[in-house]
């Protein structure tokens, strides 16, 4: 998939990585607001800090005068971080007014983003929100009293719907409404949920159920991907040699201990049984026998002959 970035996105990214004057990378020491979003496991994360010009009497009238970011992420995540900081500094917003900056404003500033990269702009908006919340705490501003719901807890509390990206139900519900997400691909593009193992798409309480409930659609059952399970490799059914599998293994071990191992040990070697299936005995020569050119011959002549003689005529030895 080749890059489909706008010239603006490419320019902002290259300016940032080359640390051009006027770019916003870095971190404000003792910031007035600090917010983070994302994680290294998810593939992108952002630390956003800002400084305000404090209003002498009314903290709600503080004005953001500087914004900085540190971002781990792809080209568009870094460009979106630049965009956010530029928008905020240009607007001379109060922190509360800055909340009006939506991910769509970032996309517009970047002159568009490929749909699968929309989550980069959402990350910027989320980090900003977290930073404003942090500012409010520091400045003693009661956001709830101003009628602003910061949903501070929803990322830590509530049922996790998407395990891969640790995304909770309350967060999903809010984002589906806020960003007007109508389909599972739209959810994945915006907030990554459902973008990895995909097992949360069609399960009860999964993404499709949430979409159906929120947008009031009759649940249309799409043929979903079934969860792939890795079967237990040991679930093999044994065949039926004359001896029970247990007796057979026991007898093989005894024969090897009594007749074969003493001979190998004389030469500083030994033998390890890897597996026994029906009358097939998988072994590996170890110690000084390991890597010996005569190993295959030794196994066949010495080990296989002895086992045929002592245990069962059908025994075959396979060198591992």
């Amino acid at each position: 998939m080749a890059w489909e970035y706008s010239e603006k996105t490419k320019q902002l990214f290259m300016d940032a990585v080359h640390g051009k004057p006027g770019t916003h990378l870095g971190e404000i020491e003792t910031p007035d607001g600090m917010g983070e979003h994302g994680s290294i496991a998810c593939g992108d994360s952002m630390r956003f800090t800002f400084r305000v010009e404090r209003h002498p009497t009314d903290a709600t009238k503080d004005v953001i005068v500087a914004a900085r970011y540190l971002t781990f992420g792809c080209t568009s995540a870094i460009a979106a971080s630049e965009a956010l900081c530029t928008l905020i500094e240009q607007g001379r917003y109060t922190p509360i007014d800055a909340l009006k900056i939506q991910n769509t404003d970032i996309v517009e500033f970047l002159e568009g983003l490929p749909s699968q990269k929309i989550h980069c702009s959402v990350m910027g908006a989320e980090a900003l929100e977290a930073a404003v919340f942090n500012w409010a705490q520091k400045r003693g501003v009661d956001l709830a009293r101003l009628g602003i719901d910061m949903h501070a807890d929803e990322k830590d509390e509530g049922r996790i719907v998407c395990q891969c990206f640790s995304i909770t139900e309350p967060y999903l519900r809010r984002k589906i409404r806020e960003l007007n997400l109508r389909t599972i691909p739209e959810i994945t593009d915006a907030i990554k949920a459902g973008g990895a193992c995909m097992s949360c798409h069609q399960v009860p309480g999964g993404l499709q159920d949430l979409l159906d409930e929120i947008w009031g659609r009759s649940p249309t059952k799409v043929l979903g991907l079934t969860q792939i399970t890795m079967p237990d490799p040991d679930a093999a059914g044994p065949g039926k040699p004359a001896l029970s599998p247990y007796q057979f293994s026991k007898k093989v071990e005894q024969t090897l201990d009594n007749y074969v191992r003493p001979m190998l040990r004389q030469d500083g070697g030994d033998l390890e049984i890897i597996d026994i299936k029906d009358s097939l005995v998988y072994c590996r020569l170890t110690g000084s026998c390991q890597g010996c050119a005569g190993a295959a011959h030794t196994l066949r002549m010495l080990v296989e002959q002895k086992l045929k003689e002592m245990v069962d005529e059908k025994v075959r030895v396979i060198q591992v």
């Binding site: 998939m1 890059w3 490419k10 990214f13 290259m14 940032a16 990585v17 080359h18 640390g19 990378l25 983070e36 290294i40 496991a41 998810c42 593939g43 992108d44 994360s45 952002m46 630390r47 970011y69 540190l70 971002t71 781990f72 992420g73 792809c74 080209t75 995540a77 870094i78 699968q116 990269k117 891969c164 990206f165 994945t188 990554k192 973008g195 990895a196 193992c197 079934t226 792939i228 890795m230 079967p231 490799p233 040991d234 679930a235 093999a236 059914g237 065949g239 890897i274 597996d275 299936k277 029906d278 097939l280 998988y282 075959r316 396979i318 591992v320």
Partner: protein, 398 residues
């Protein structure tokens, strides 16, 4: 600025000799090889010659074991689906967690159809456990499909040993290997060292033939139903009018590959090793994925902790250097490479992986250019990374 192409595991440039060999078959020798007239017989003969050349490359005495397909993906699909159809009572398939999607996804599809599939894991170096493989074999195992050289890391699996154990256990288990990345890079002898392999897939465009031609080797006597039906071509085992020009091109490309095996194992390996040792020396917190395992000589998969691979690639791209990444942002999914995750590469490094893969057209000067620019590219992103301590040039504590 001239382009530096270091993504030869993705695809390769068509060799001039290959293009030249193909050209007559577009406008002069364009006949359908199944037609009756004399010119068509010449076209059919060209295919016969090409088939013999491809067979000879693998030291095969009987060229009829070579089937031409459209690509390695088709070959892999034909091998897995065809084997399953030929032996319905054998419900178990063994494969690995690090296959190319053209095998992995087909095996998952088989699972949805009700078959059992064992996906063998790998260790941190990318190696399979032979013990685990042995334990996975069951009385109802019908197919083992294991990649030869990994496309992302170049790690080689011990196919001769795995195939031998399989056939010694039960000759009716079919052993398939996806050799797309190894054919043309290392010699394979299907009559001797690799004689226990029943089915082998690869495509031309990884070895300087064009895209659109693949091969499925089917050892005589292997039970495998055709995927494409509706024609007598390839003895009814793969219907569809033969792609003469591309078949001839592939044969030429394999002839050239055989002549370059020594270059591949000496000069290209040296270029790759030099790249790795200098990067390891100049960049802190970098790892080479699969370095301790047997590997293809041309592939290097490096992970830079705390930076994101797509942003690395973009800067390389700006400098005219083509490489690829296992990062989530380049995968189409939002997960980093399934191969690196199976190797338990930590998330801090899996997102920051870059694969360089070389061919005989790469020069020392090109590798030197990569060595010159890459450390700065990584440093640029670390300067932006919330996980990197700028002043001490190491990961942040906490």
């Amino acid at each position: 600025m001239s382009l530096i192409y270091a993504d030869n595991n993705a695809t390769t440039a068509v060799a001039p000799e290959v293009l030249e060999a193909m050209t007559p078959f577009f406008q002069t020798e364009y006949f359908n090889p199944s037609s009756m007239y004399e010119p068509a017989r010449r076209t059919a003969q060209a295919i016969t010659r090409a088939r013999a050349q491809v067979a000879a490359h693998f030291r095969l005495a009987d060229p009829k074991q070579i089937l031409f397909t459209s690509c390695a993906t088709e070959s892999n699909n034909a091998a897995i689906v065809g084997t399953a159809r030929a032996n319905v009572s054998r419900r178990h398939i063994i494969t690995t967690a690090v296959e190319h999607p053209a095998v992995l996804e087909v095996c998952k599809e088989m699972q949805r159809d009700g078959r059992d599939v064992t996906f063998l894991g790998v260790d941190g170096d990318g190696n399979l456990s032979i013990e685990e493989f042995v334990r996975a074999i069951r009385p109802d195992t019908g197919l083992v499909s294991i990649i030869h050289a990994n496309n992302e890391t170049g790690v080689l699996f011990p196919i001769p040993q795995l195939a031998r154990i399989t056939k010694e256990t039960d000759p009716s288990i079919v052993f398939h290997t996806d050799a797309t990345q190894s054919v043309g890079k290392i010699p394979l002898d299907l009559e001797n060292e690799y004689r226990d392999v029943d089915l082998l897939s690869f495509s031309g465009h990884k070895l300087h033939a064009p895209k659109g031609i693949g091969v499925l080797y089917v050892k005589r006597g292997t039970a495998c139903r055709p995927l494409l039906i509706g024609g007598h071509q390839e003895e009814g085992r793969r219907a569809g009018t033969e792609n003469t020009a591309y078949i001839v091109g592939l044969a030429k490309a394999m002839e050239l590959a055989a002549a370059h095996y020594e270059d591949e194992t000496t000069r290209i390996r040296e270029l790759r090793d030099r790249l790795e040792s200098v990067l390891l020396e100049r960049i802190p917190e970098i790892r080479v994925n699969g370095r301790a395992a047997p590997r293809l000589p041309n592939t290097s998969n490096v992970s830079c902790h705390y930076v994101e691979g797509e942003a690395l690639l973009y800067q390389l791209n700006e400098l005219g250097i083509c490489a690829s990444s296992g990062s989530a942002c380049t995968s189409g999914s939002l997960e980093p490479s399934h191969v690196l995750r199976a190797m338990h590469v930590p998330f801090t490094a899996a997102h920051g992986s870059v694969r360089f893969s070389f061919s005989r057209y790469n020069t020392r000067a090109e590798v030197d250019r990569v060595i010159d620019v890459f450390p700065q590219i990584v440093a640029n992103l670390r300067r932006l990374s919330p996980y990197w301590d700028q002043t001490r040039d190491r990961p942040r504590e906490s």
